[in-house]
Symmetry: C2
Subunit: 193 residues, 2 copies
């Protein structure tokens, strides 16, 4: 089994369970936690008042969703980093839990970044056909802070795409490969076993 | 190898390469193609003119992106359905291509659905704090068609989440499981091989 892994999987695969790889995965989970907290703080402090009125992140549904998504993501990242840091054998249920939650968080944080980016885009450009004004002309500071928070959220998304990849590798490498289709597939399998 | 797969993977895993499973995967790729074309047609025909003016999907950046994403998704779904339908051994490069493209399409179509949903939400609710009007009051038909198109896009997203899961299983089940960490991990492995 070990030999097959080395031949098929190429370099690095057989070391995935080593302390170095575990440390790397833990760091990859701590990084989005730190970034989520940063994005959260920037967004929570994002409000501006001037002669045109006042604007706060909580006035926009998309930014409220970003704040919630960042909080959930920071909490999950911390929790999963702690679990990933503890050396113990990887069970199927643990691999499935990591896989499903990593995938879910990736979709949640991607959606949060995408809809917030769309709102900031509309606030910068406006849309004359549906009479939505260019709010960033009056609230430049507000828009810049929101943009910074969204940019950080997209970096978090990239981290989570990588984590999804790692956790799906960890899960599915526990299963055998599906039988490659051929006209003699069943006969070959019978002979082998 | 076969026996291990049956023991570890549980029911169904050993049949993944069978013609039935291949047909199921092909259908799961044809379905989002049909849905993408439907979402595309609804969105492309979505325009309304009345006493307040006229509004078309192309006036909104988010809907233009949805149209592009649906086109790409429909094209890729058709192509991948054809490739998945042909019976031939699954190679590593093919599994990696499917895996990466399925993941990418999932993120693209999820983002398209999310930002379009945000725009429709804003068009229905408006946002008084940044003086964006409730456009759907005047353009109800336009908003209903857009909502239908977005709802279909979310069904496509669900199909692609399932396809990502299948293609990551197909790819990573070809690799050996990482060595479960233990203090004696290396010694045990040496003894076994």
């Amino acid at each position: 089994m070990m030999r097959k892994g080395m031949e098929m999987g190429g370099e690095g695969v057989e070391e995935t369970g080593s302390p170095i790889m575990r440390t790397a995965e833990t760091l990859l989970r701590v990084l989005p936690m730190a970034l989520c907290v940063l994005a959260l703080i920037i967004m929570l402090k994002d409000s501006q008042a001037n002669e045109y009125g006042s604007l706060s992140y909580s006035d926009l549904g998309a930014f409220r969703y970003l704040v919630h998504a960042s909080s959930v993501c920071a909490g999950y990242s911390l929790l999963s980093a702690v679990v990933a840091a503890v050396p113990r054998p990887s069970t199927m249920s643990r691999a499935w839990t990591f896989f499903l939650l990593d995938q879910l968080l990736t979709y949640i944080i991607l959606a949060a970044g995408a809809i917030s980016a769309e709102v900031v885009y509309l606030a910068y450009k406006g849309d004359t056909s549906i009479t939505w004004s260019q709010t960033c002309g009056e609230f430049g500071g507000f828009c810049r802070k929101a943009t910074a928070s969204i940019a950080i959220t997209f970096v978090v998304t990239l981290c989570y795409v990588a984590l999804s990849l790692i956790s799906s590798y960890r899960l599915f490498s526990k299963y055998d490969a599906p039988v490659a289709y051929s006209d003699k597939g069943i006969e070959v399998a019978t002979v082998r076993s």
